[in-house]
Amino acid sequence: MKNEHTLSPSSQMILQQYDQYAAVWKVMKKVVTEETSKIVANSGVTVTAVDSRIKDRKSLHGKLELKGYKYFSISDLTDIVGVRITTFYTDDVDKVAALIAKVFDVDWKNSVDKRKMHELNSFGYMSLHYICRIPESLFKDESLPEVNTFRFEVQMRTALQHVWATIDHDIGYKTGIEIPVEHLRNLRRLAGMLELADEEFSRIRKEIADYRYKVEGLVKDGNFDDVALDADTFRRYLETQPFRALEEKIAAVNQAEIYHSSLMPFLKVLLKMGLKTLGDVERLRKNYSDAAYKLSLSEIADTDLNIISSTLALQNICIAYLYLQGSGVPGIQMFFDEYRGVSDRNRPEAESLMDRLKNINFDI
C-alpha cells in the first residue's frame, strides 16, 4: 500500500471516502454494466468489447498524488466507475453515444469529445468521454442514494483508437523514462494513420451499404442488366423467388410436395456457365424454363414420386441450357462437377442423362 501521508489532507479524506463507499461502487458498476450491455445489444451496433471497472485504490492514490489539488471530495472524481465501449466503426461511436445519452443523465459540462480536441496539425488520443449519473428511474435504493449522485465515465472509441490509446498508455506510463521526441512523433504519426484507417473503414462500409441499397432498387425495378452477378446480388435476386412458378409447375405434375432448399450453391455454376449479370440469369430463366419443365416432366411423370427439391427447377434450367447450347456430355459433367463436387460418377451420369435428353422433343 502506498504511503497516504504523501497526500494532502483533502486527498487522504478522498481515499477514506473511496473505502467508505465500496458498496456504492459495486452497485454502480453492476447497473452501468447491465444497462450499457442492453443498450449495445439493442443498438444493432457490433462492438468488440464492453468493459467496465472500478478504479483500484492504487490508481486513485496515484491520481491524487499527481492531481489531488483539483479534488475536494470523492464526488468530484468522475471515473471511479468506468465503462468502455469499443466499436468497429467511427460512425458507431456516435450512435452508441446517442443511446447512452438517452438512458443515463449526462453531465454535458464535464463530458468531452477528445476526437475534436486536436489541432489541425496534431494527432493522438481520440475518444468520446461522457460523464453520467444513473437516473432514479433506472435504479433506486434508499440505503445507497450515492448511486444516483456520484458520477461515472463512459468511454466510447473504435478498436483502432483503443489499440493506439493502449499502446500510448503502455509506453508513456510504464517505462518511467522520458521518451525522446522523435519516438513520440512516430507514435503520433501512427495515430494519424489509424485515424485515416478508421475513416476508410467507415467509408468502405458506407459504400458497400450504398451498393447494396442500389442493387436492391435495381432488382426491385427489374433492371437486372445493370447488376453484376455475385453472392450478394444473387441472394437478393433469389429473394424475389424467380423460380417459384417453375418449381410449382413441376411439383404439380405429381402433386408433389416441394422441399425448399437454398439455391445459392448454383451461383458458382452460373458463373462457370459464363453468366455475368442478373440480366443473364433472368434471360436464362425466361428462355429455358419451358425446356426445364419438359425435362422434369419426362423424368418424373411416369413415377409416383411425390416430393421434389426446390433445387430441381434451376438444376433443370441449367441442364436444358447446356444441352440445347450443344455443350454435350462435357458440359453436363461440368455442371455436376461444379454443383455436387468432382466425382468419378459424374461422367457416366452425364452420359446417361445425355441419352435421356436426346429422347425429349424440346421443339414443341
Binding site: 408433389a256 422441399y259 432448399s261 450453391p265 422434369s296 423424368e299 418424373i300 413415377t303 409416383d304 414420386l305 411425390n306 416430393i307 421434389i308 427439391s309 426446390s310 433445387t311 430441381l312 438444376q315 454443383y339 455436387r340 466425382s343 460418377r345 451420369e349 446417361s352 442423362l353
Partner: protein
C-alpha cells in the same frame, strides 16, 4: 428389408438391404429412429443393396439429414445403384443430400 447399424468411433455406419416402399417404410423408420438422437451425428449409409426407394424413403433420408445437421453432423449415402441414384437425381435430392 434389413437395416444394420454399427457404431465405430465417432461415426455410425448403416447398411440397407432391400426396398424402401409403402410396405417397408415403417420398418425402415423404426430402424433409423435411434440415429435421430444418437451421440454420433456423423452417419454413413451404404446403399449398395438398396434396390428401390419411393418418396417415403426420400422423406426419411431428408428427416435423417435434418436431424444430423441439427447436431452439426454429416449424412453421406454411398454405393448407390444407378436406378436408386436416378430417383435422387430426378427429384433434385442429389443436390441436397451428400452422395458419394
Amino acid at each position: 428389408m434389413t437395416v444394420t447399424i454399427n457404431n465405430e468411433g465417432a461415426k455410425t455406419y448403416v447398411v440397407i438391404d432391400g426396398r424402401i416402399d409403402t410396405a417397408t417404410a415403417g420398418e425402415f423408420q423404426d430402424a433409423v429412429a435411434p440415429l435421430m438422437t444418437s451421440e454420433n451425428p456423423d452417419i454413413e449409409i451404404d446403399c449398395e443393396k438398396l434396390s428401390y426407394t419411393s418418396s417415403l424413403g426420400l422423406r426419411m433420408f431428408l428427416m435423417l439429414q435434418k436431424s444430423v445437421q441439427s447436431r452439426s453432423g454429416v449424412l453421406v449415402l454411398k454405393n448407390m445403384q444407378p436406378s436408386v441414384r436416378e430417383v435422387f437425381d430426378i427429384t433434385g435430392f442429389s443436390n441436397i443430400i451428400k452422395i458419394i
